[in-house]
């Protein structure tokens, strides 16, 4: 018996694998070195249009870096990234901004504009790009805030918000222009169970009703499992496993078994690369 059959956050269409011909984001031969550390080592990835693709992996493996590559914030050392048929590396600033106008991006640290109230933060993308009457802006912003449960907080300043509230405001801002591609960098951090449920429903609804392509970076597998169509596991500069969350959860490969089981020992390194532990503490034989 599948426990998710009655789950309202779940879409009924269950496409298991991304259709290669219909990729919204195509990554080929990506190679990145930051500060002498290899973050990506010749990886390929397709992100299916209209689906929710979750990217998981230990912290510090380069999930945020991958998102920065996709949105053209950071150039890769090598390889090609195509978003909606356009090569990101070849775009000039104007073209890049045109592309970004259709992308909603939730920053890992919310990145709200501290000079503006919650309302103005959410209204910011509208005011900058569209000439709309004040009344319409007001309605759009309030609907967005309502959907993240913060309509009553519209007048607050970012410094008056908790971490979880700030994430929800940032989420409202990211979706305010109905983007075609939504990128969420750790959206569930700091959310209480009720807010988490609401946000999961929101993300799923955006996909089901508007056909938004979503890329989701998150650590909470139980949450990811409820909404993602496809999960990609990154570790050690490679995509080590991918597939439908239920398939990954069965833990058929060593990678997934360790990662989702939360074990420290296995192919996924828990330790940041370092010198031998005993030697660094001065205990190793012959160290002294």
């Amino acid at each position: 018996m599948n426990p998710r059959v009655n789950d309202p956050t779940r879409s009924n269409q269950d496409a298991r694998t991304p259709a290669a011909g219909n990729a919204c984001v195509r990554i080929r031969g990506l190679r990145t070195v930051l500060n002498g550390k290899t973050i990506f080592d010749d990886v390929d990835l397709d992100i299916a249009r209209g689906k929710i693709t979750a990217i998981m992996g230990p912290s510090g493996t380069g999930k945020t870096t991958l998102l920065r590559h996709i949105t053209g914030q950071l150039a890769a050392d090598c390889g090609d990234i195509e978003v909606d048929g356009r090569h990101v590396a070849g775009l000039n600033r104007t073209q890049l901004f045109d592309l970004r106008e259709r992308i909603g991006y939730l920053f890992q640290n919310s990145a709200l504009l501290t000079d503006f109230s919650v309302f103005e933060n959410v209204a910011f993308p509208l005011r900058q790009h569209l000439r709309l009457p004040e009344e319409i802006i007001r309605n759009i912003v309030l609907t967005r805030l309502q959907s993240v449960g913060l309509r009553g907080a519209a007048h607050l300043m970012p410094s008056e918000l908790s971490g979880g509230m700030a994430r929800r405001v940032a989420l409202a801002r990211a979706i305010v222009r109905d983007p075609d591609l939504m990128i969420y960098d750790e959206p569930f951090v700091g959310l209480d169970p009720i807010a988490l449920n609401q946000i999961l429903t929101l993300i799923r609804t955006l996909n089901d009703t508007l056909g938004v392509t979503s890329i989701l970076v998150a650590h909470e597998f139980s949450a990811v499992r409820r909404i993602a169509d496809h999960v990609v596991l990154i570790a050690g500069g490679k995509f080590v496993a991918s597939g439908h969350p239920d398939v990954l959860a069965r833990g058929e490969s060593e990678w997934t078994r360790q990662f989702f089981g939360g074990e420290a020992d296995g192919p996924v390194p828990f330790q940041y690369p370092a010198r031998d532990y005993a030697a660094e503490l001065g205990f190793a034989a012959g160290a002294r």
């Binding site: 920053f107 993308p125 801002r173």
Partner: protein, 255 residues
């Protein structure tokens, strides 16, 4: 200090100058688009201008008073106290007004520009704008640059006015010079175009340079609290040096 190290520092300094130059071109390129955010420019003029008023007015008053006092004793030796108003006005309009205002402006407005932009960098607000397809150069940097150019001349005029008031207080009300001589000699000697406006043009250039340095330091600061602290200090130090050097160059060539 050995030669290679000195060469490195020289190379670093030159690279920094080049970077500031390139930054200026990107500001100028962003100015047309920033006119769409004219409200932001107005807000910045208010912020760097109106908020600097108290310090500018106070300092202007005291500079005028002390200048008047010093010159009174010097001029007494030559029996030339009748020229007090003229000398005070000339030195204020041509030199002290623009230069002292610029130094105060760097300390009051330049530092806050640097700290503000640096903090926006450190908290990813600039990246967030870029991701919302809003260019921080035209939304954040260019309005502050324009505000510097617009606010400085206005502040200099206020500084000068308060300076004359201070000089009048000391010279006429306290030391007992004749009121008519004080104003009369001044108005017949000091030229609006060559003396007063020269200083005003100069101050617009100072405003541009200070805003350029301040926004550059903020925009390129390392995203840490230490980085922002150093950037703020560098704004004051570089602005002071550049303003005084530029003052000499402009005075030598343009007047």
């Amino acid at each position: 200090m050995n030669a290679p190290r000195r060469n490195m520092m020289l190379a670093d300094a030159l690279a920094q100058v080049g970077a500031v130059g390139l930054f200026m071109f990107s500001i100028l390129a962003a100015v047309p688009k920033s006119l769409r955010h004219y409200r932001e420019t107005v807000r910045q003029v208010w912020f760097v201008g109106a908020m600097s008023l108290v310090i500018i007015m106070t300092c202007g008053l005291f500079v005028g008073m002390v200048l008047s006092l010093q010159l009174y004793y010097v001029l007494t030796n030559f029996g030339g106290t009748a020229a007090l108003g003229t000398v005070v006005a000339l030195s204020m309009f041509r030199e002290l007004g623009p230069v002292v205002t610029a130094l105060l402006f760097a300390g009051r407005a330049g530092t806050s520009m640097t700290a503000e932009i640096g903090l926006m960098r450190a908290t990813d607000q600039l990246s967030a704008m870029e991701m919302m397809a809003v260019d921080p150069m035209s939304y954040v940097v260019a309005p502050r640059f324009l505000a510097g150019i617009l606010a400085m001349p206005l502040l200099v005029c206020i500084f000068n006015a308060l300076g004359l008031l201070g000089a009048h207080l000391v010279g006429v009300s306290w030391l007992g010079l004749d009121n008519g001589t004080f104003w009369g000699n001044m108005t017949s000697t000091v030229e609006v175009w060559s003396d007063l406006l020269n200083g005003v043009w100069k101050s617009a250039a100072f405003g541009a340079v200070i805003a350029l340095i301040a926004t550059f330091q903020g925009y390129t600061t390392p995203p840490t609290s230490e980085g922002v602290a150093y950037a703020t200090t560098r704004t004051v130090v570089s602005s002071a040096i550049v303003v005084l050097a530029l003052d000499f160059v402009m005075t030598a060539f343009l007047m």
